[in-house]
């Protein structure tokens, strides 16, 4: 081809070149600690995504070597410019760089193809399984549904943990805080709840979202592996903003998680979302706010730290039938220091949520797992979602345990106890044992009902305290093997009928005969 032909082709292409749209632009005037000050961008809006123009002054080949587009998020609108956070590698931004406004607010991909995947706070896959093909984009910051669009909590969300399902029941659409010191089993409670959803029928099974904020990558990897082994990953989405991620991504991760969840809720599905944990998100937000030069308040947290958590947790809801009836149940986690629940962030989140599950170090060290303090744990709306069967066997359980704890303390000072008190203590000690549960082993609700019915009827009173856990496990297996029909009935109806009670009593007698060695006390 000769030169004139080439020139002709170029001319032709130039004539049919698309119309170019203008962008509002600004210039980076300062950059540091993941935050940029930008001069210009006068039409930028809050939470708008901006694009850093890295190719300016660079040759095409150099520009192609760069690692994809670099975005920022507008967080402060100021008199002569904006302040934004960099959603990526800070070292790629330099002073004088042009920044383009995109006119879009931050969105993340969502849809069925995200199930079983691990994504970052921007919804980008990080599990090496390739990009999403046809996702629906959901806005990260969205107003929560209003009063008219909601309805009360009435469907239970089974955690598979006896002490929770019996005494601190959680309903679909509820926000139940899991709070405790480090190493008390907060994540375990949340993960067991996710695993337990495999016992739900596929059509009503909640989609689970686990948001890891500021966690070690090794911990998240372990959780992913555990969920995979338990066949729970297929209905779970992991949003990972590890400790190594910029503060902006740690602050955004819970919002991204709930935005992903809203896709399913809007389509009438139930969603369970775990925020592990919001204390780290608050710390990330504090870091970001200080870098953005927002005025610091108590403990240097910004003034809107309460709003940060309230607007996040308000997005958990049970929608009315007109809106499809979907729900988002939130299990936020808060880490306390030395058991101090009166800290700034814990009290904020306690006041926002519909109940709390307190995990106590002392109980954990005594070998009581899960280390839930049922005396101070509460569920404000969950009881209306509890099945009749569970309500029947769990009524009075909390009181009995609370009385036992009081007597247990008293027992250390008194040498002679009357028979009634001694019996109550013996019964309480066994009940504590019955409620013990290993991690990663959630129990279906029907088995919980049967076991608690047996325990209420003094079934374990003749079993030495040290053998109660074993007896409970064997009894559960016995019911599975011999009384599967009974369990299926309890599950189906959600009730414990008189016939079912008689059958359990029969099962108790048969088990007692078959395992005489356990009943030697």
């Amino acid at each position: 081809m000769n030169t004139s032909a080439v020139e002709k082709i170029i001319k032709e292409i130039e004539q049919i070149a698309p119309k170019h749209e203008g962008h509002s632009v600004g210039t980076v005037t300062a950059v540091g600690d993941g935050v940029v000050a930008i001069d210009g961008l006068s039409k930028a809006v809050m939470s708008e995504i901006i694009l850093f123009e890295e190719s300016n002054g660079k040759k095409l080949a150099e520009s192609l070597e760069g690692g994809g587009k670099l975005y920022g998020l507008v967080l402060n609108l100021e008199e002569d410019g904006v302040r934004a956070t960099i959603l990526g590698d800070t070292s790629r931004v330099s002073e004088g760089m042009t920044v383009k406004s995109t006119g879009e607010v931050l969105s993340v991909p969502s849809g069925d193809e995200l199930l079983g995947r691990v994504v970052d706070a921007l919804g980008e896959p990080v599990d090496g399984k390739g990009p999403f093909k046809n996702p629906t984009m959901m806005q990260v910051e969205r107003e929560a549904y209003g009063v008219i669009d909601r309805k009360g909590v009435s469907v239970p969300l089974q955690t598979g943990i006896k002490s929770i399902d019996a005494m601190i029941p959680i309903g679909r659409g509820q926000r139940e805080l899991i709070i405790g010191d480090r190493g008390t089993g907060k994540t375990t409670v949340a993960i067991d709840t996710i695993i337990n959803q495999r016992n739900e029928p596929a059509e009503t099974r909640p989609i689970c979202i686990y948001v890891a904020i500021g966690q070690k990558e090794s911990k998240t990897a372990r959780i992913v592996e555990q969920l995979r082994q338990e066949n729970a990953l297929e209905y779970t989405i992991i949003v990972d903003a590890p400790a190594s991620a910029p503060a902006a991504l740690q602050f955004l991760a819970p919002f991204s998680g709930v935005a992903i969840g809203e896709y399913f809720m809007d389509r009438g599905r139930d969603v369970l979302i775990v925020y592990d944990d919001l204390s780290k998100q608050a710390v990330a937000y504090r870091e970001l706010s200080l870098l953005l030069r927002r005025p610091p308040g108590r403990e240097a947290y910004p003034g809107d730290i309460f709003y940060l958590h309230s607007r996040l947790l308000e997005r958990a809801a049970r929608l009315s039938d007109e809106k499809g009836g979907g729900s988002i149940t939130a299990l936020p986690i808060i880490e306390t220091q030395e058991g101090d629940v009166s800290g700034y962030i814990p009290t904020n989140v306690i006041s926002i949520t519909d109940g709390q599950i307190f995990l106590i170090t002392d109980l954990f060290n005594k070998g009581i797992r899960p280390a839930i303090d049922v005396g101070i744990s509460v569920s404000r709306v969950g009881s209306s979602a509890q099945t009749k069967g569970m309500k029947g066997v769990a009524g009075g359980l909390k009181l009995e345990l609370a009385q036992f704890r009081e007597l247990e303390a008293f027992m250390q000072f008194a040498s002679d106890l009357d028979k009634e008190t001694a019996d109550r203590i013996e019964s309480g000690r066994r009940m504590v044992e019955v409620l013990k549960q290993k991690n990663g082993q959630p129990i279906p609700v029907e088995k919980q009902v049967a076991t608690l019915y047996a325990a209420n009827n003094k079934f374990f009173l003749d079993v030495p305290v040290g053998k109660v856990v074993e007896a409970e496990k064997l009894f559960s297996e016995f019911l599975d093997g011999q009384y599967a029909k009974l369990l299926a009935g309890i599950r189906k109806t959600g009730q414990l009928s008189d016939d079912a009670k008689k059958e359990i009593a029969k099962a108790m007698d048969e088990f007692r005969l078959a395992h005489k060695e356990l009943f030697s006390a």
Partner: protein, 130 residues
């Protein structure tokens, strides 16, 4: 804080005060309040404001080669009104890294019709579709 002082200085001069007088008035005020050491930082902030204000009235047309200028100026004729710039006030810059086409920047707006940007977009679309 220095930005606020620099802005005040800018406004004093803009409203007709003699520059020398304005600086002395500011210096005196700072000395009286024990903040004279802020002067250097105020200077830097003032320079930034000046740079920004000067940039406001400027528009730059970037082309890859000198002989592309005429064609580019014809192409941007329609959009110049949006930029509130006269064709004769347009500053032209030669930057061979844009390969071809043109880039018009000014008044906080940018229209990028460079070949480099189009090729980069094409590359990104092609590679992300794989």
């Amino acid at each position: 804080m220095e930005t606020a002082y620099a802005q005040a200085l800018w406004k004093m001069v803009e409203r007709g005060m003699e520059p020398k007088k304005a600086v002395h008035a500011l210096h005196e005020q700072l000395t009286n309040t024990g903040r004279a050491s802020l002067m250097r930082r105020i200077l830097r902030a003032f320079e930034r404001i000046a740079e920004r204000e000067l940039r406001k009235g400027q528009s730059t047309l970037t082309v890859a080669r000198e002989h592309d200028e005429r064609h580019a100026k014809t192409a941007v004729k329609e959009v110049l009104a949006e930029f509130e710039v006269e064709s004769k006030d347009l500053k032209t810059l030669i930057d061979d890294t844009i390969i071809g086409g043109w880039r018009l920047e000014g008044n906080g707006r940018l229209i990028d019709a460079s070949y480099k940007t189009q090729l980069l977009e094409l590359y990104k679309r092609a590679t992300s579709a794989v």
